[in-house]
Symmetry: C2
Subunit: 147 residues, 2 copies
């Protein structure tokens, strides 16, 4: 399906507007695709935010990337809830779910706190929270297949 026809299909569903709120994907490919989109966004937004702090991207975008990061981080745990192995995820995601859940919940909590600090106090307030929020590597070392 091309991106354009995906959007057309999305629109068709959207205009019906009858999708139950609890709707869940059941196709394994969709489940893996969705969590890849979520993780790719987290990687791209973390990197973008880091670049704004390093003088490698417009500094005034720091807050925007922090906000986008927090929003998408809030979807990340849910994206893994259905046990579908593959797509770069180790089986331990589900075998050690309580630990995985704890880490993903912390990511959401910490990036939300980072975004709030960024919004209210800019880099000065949010800077000290950056390292604590970006726990990507610690989690990838355990739960992501080596590339």
């Amino acid at each position: 399906m091309t991106r354009l026809s995906q959007f057309a299909a999305a629109l068709a569903v959207a205009t019906v507007a009858a999708l139950p709120l609890a709707a869940r994907a059941s196709d394994p490919t969709d489940i893996i695709d969705y969590r890849k989109h979520v993780m790719k966004t987290l990687g791209a937004q973390s990197a973008s935010m880091a670049m704004t702090l390093q003088g490698k991207a417009p500094a005034e975008n720091f807050v925007l990337h922090a906000e986008a990061l927090a929003i998408v981080a809030s979807t990340a745990l849910q994206a893994f809830k259905e046990k579908v192995e593959g797509g770069g995820s180790k089986p331990d995601v589900w075998a050690k779910w309580p630990d995985f859940e704890k880490r993903m919940t912390e990511l959401a909590t910490n990036t939300a706190a980072l975004a709030k600090a960024a919004r209210e106090g800019g880099v000065a307030a949010a800077g000290p929270k950056v390292q604590g929020a970006l726990t990507c590597k610690g989690c990838h070392d355990i739960y992501r297949e080596k590339k």
Copy 2:
């Protein structure tokens, strides 16, 4: 530079908190990397949002993806402002800048309206705005190198 050391460097800059707001990247690699991160996010968040409307991802995440899309779309024009060819961008981005600028501004405006409608009225309100907001393909056909 590994991602971890990038973050450490970012933190070091953040704690100094002395970065002037108008700081701009000047390294061509950084400029291209940054706009790739931005465009990759737009692609991933558009696709995620479409999946929520198609029943392929949790429907309740529709609003979150619409919000993330709008935030990152608001950084996109700026990410291309410095004329550095390459990274998949055709030279026409800068040769036809007024048209490119118009399109990127519309993307930001339309995704912001979509996110607002989603926030206030959910899929029923935002659905009819989806197709008009996601103008990715029209712009890519003109300004992105064929893969």
